[in-house]
Symmetry: C2
DNA sequence: CGGAAGCTGCGAACCGGTTCGACGTTCCCG
DNA sequence: CGGGAACGTCGAACCGGTTCGCAGCTTCCG
């Protein structure tokens, strides 16, 4: 493999001159520059990433911490990963994918060893164990998901409160007076999935303000349990005319459940979910939904992270906490409630 | 950040001694070793990955090339990625995730710059453009998927021929005499998804040998087209009693289609798919299927790749082409055919 | 015509590890 | 008691880049 020394030799200049000719950080005569570039082409020279990282303390790699937890719905996570990965490449960065179950140790490893210039954390919990480590790291970090303490990191998330209100308002406006919200499993909430109760509390609040009934249940994130949970819900609350789904697995399982019971949306039941359009297409979900915008969130996180890495933002510039405003994508699964 | 020089100083030894004490590559007195280890702990020393890579020409990183193509079913790909990622970590390697649309340039970039010690290619096509580049790279490569030319790389794939035969045999044994095989979109086949016709040809051959009828159709990999394709299939071949599905999107869409037509498996129609158990659970697919074993394939690929990286296998040891024997997971969606 | 300024290019140092050869001790054995 | 081997440690070189300071050569101006 050719080194910059080989290039310099072929071009008849010193190593430093070759380096400057390629980086453009100093004035170089047109003649020399051409000779260096020719040598590069001829030798097929590519800089050694390790050597460059050592010299510049920049790896041009971003760490992506994605936890695939037992009760997590994996395909939903993939959307975020791709948003992050694609944006990173556009900005010249590669992605070090960390899917370790033990995110804390992995995070420490990649930051301490300086394998990465910055880190994106997905699936951030209310009190995420990875956060203290990230704060003590030398590299900046961006989160997708809202933790209790946002100091020292840039945070991006969907506005789940607004999402909850939007769901309730939408059905209320159509005339629904009794609905049910399907949340994630208890376990996800206990682990710190704050977005679950952020949406739920706002939805309950909106329901109360409008004087309508909102039942809340949490459903499993696995088959076949989630199907049974949904069935049980419909048995328990037979008067419910509107279903709000904040659980990807439940959304994916719902078509079958409705089918089995001979129900159709929206004539028998109005349904609103919370997932991305991409997700809806992949799972052929015919329900209107709050767009969760994973690609956009991933993109925002990387953009801001790279700004910090490259020092485009003053070190003391306050960290941002930015919420994406939810939008309802109408897929025709909501309508006026069935007559009582 | 502490360097090995700091550690050496704190322990009162030279840099080289500190290095040997930590690597164990030379005998070191117990006293010195203890002092070095104490210093490491006290200073929180972690070796700099770039420096180590430069010195050892080993990065302990494996490149993972995953193409998310337009007409590819993303969740299926995720399974392979996780199999690769988890196995790599177990063996001490990190994963550089490359999801560039232009896999060839990306592959050249990460190999030439020596960011990775080896590469795993997913979703390998019949004549994969990335292969020539991989062969000319200094690092070894492992593939998941069977290309036309396997020289210079280790190859792992499901035995799709056997899978095709297994599907046909299974239904034949139950008494089915007319079936249909749903394949990937034409486009995927043209692009070189050889596994599609590997399965199809073997299935046709088996059908011919047993004197039964097998219709073949290719279906879209997107909603809502795939649903229509499936419907059209059932209209065109009303006497079909068995359905073989070699298309993840079609499998995911089938429950809804059957429901809409008021059909139930296996009483109206026997169905056999080809996807992983994990996939079946995620999408709540109730159909028996040929296990595609993505985690196992990813694991095998990484294992072999690491063996080559670490020189456990002689450089001239022939490359392997290994097929996983397909197994049918019974989910009760097949039975005797309905009366004509 | 002399000196300052502006271009270009070079040499050396540095980033933070690993590894080879050499050196001084200690120990064992003849 | 002397010599060689084994052991433990050190210094220096090296991996392949980047960057700083400096020097030679022009050019320009007074």
């Amino acid at each position: 493999m050719a080194t910059i020394g080989d290039v310099a030799q072929a071009a008849g200049v010193s190593r430093s001159t070759a380096s400057y000719a390629l980086s453009g950080k100093r004035a170089i005569s047109a003649d020399v520059r051409r000779r260096v570039e020719d040598a590069v082409r001829q030798l097929g020279y590519t800089p050694n990433a390790g050597a460059r990282a050592l010299a510049t303390s920049q790896t041009m790699v971003i760490g992506l911490l994605a936890q695939f937890l037992e009760d997590e719905f994996a395909p939903a996570m993939l959307q975020y990963m791709l948003g992050v990965s694609n944006t990173a490449r556009e900005l010249g960065y590669d992605i070090l994918l960390v899917s370790d179950a033990d995110g804390t140790r992995a995070l420490r490893r990649i930051t301490d060893s300086r394998m990465v210039d910055g880190v994106v954390l997905l699936n951030v919990a209310e009190r995420d164990e990875r956060l203290p480590i990230l704060r003590s790291a030398a590299q900046p970090g961006a989160l997708v998901g809202l933790p209790a303490d946002c100091t020292g990191v840039d945070v991006f998330d969907l506005d789940f409160e607004e999402a909850g209100r939007l769901m309730v308002d939408h059905l209320h406006r159509l005339g629904h007076r009794e609905m049910a919200l399907v949340s994630q499993p208890e376990h996800v909430i206990e682990r710190g999935g704050a977005y679950v109760w952020r949406l739920q509390n706002a939805a309950l609040e909106a329901a109360r303000a409008r004087g309508i009934t909102l039942h809340t249940v949490s459903a499993s994130s696995h088959q076949p349990d989630v199907g049974q949970d949904l069935s049980a819900l419909l048995d328990t609350y037979p008067d419910v005319t509107g279903l709000l789904i904040n659980n990807e697995a439940a959304a994916a399982a719902l078509p079958t459940v409705l089918h089995q019971r001979g129900l159709t949306a929206p004539s028998d039941l109005s349904v609103v979910g919370r997932y991305s359009d991409e997700f809806a297409r992949t799972f052929s979900l015919p329900y209107s939904s709050i767009e969760s915008a994973p690609d956009r969130l991933g993109r925002m996180a990387v953009r801001q992270l790279v700004r910090r890495i490259e020092g485009d933002v003053a070190a003391d510039e306050p960290h941002v906490v930015r919420f994406v405003t939810p939008e309802l994508v109408d897929r025709g699964s909501t309508g006026v409630p069935r007559p009582a």
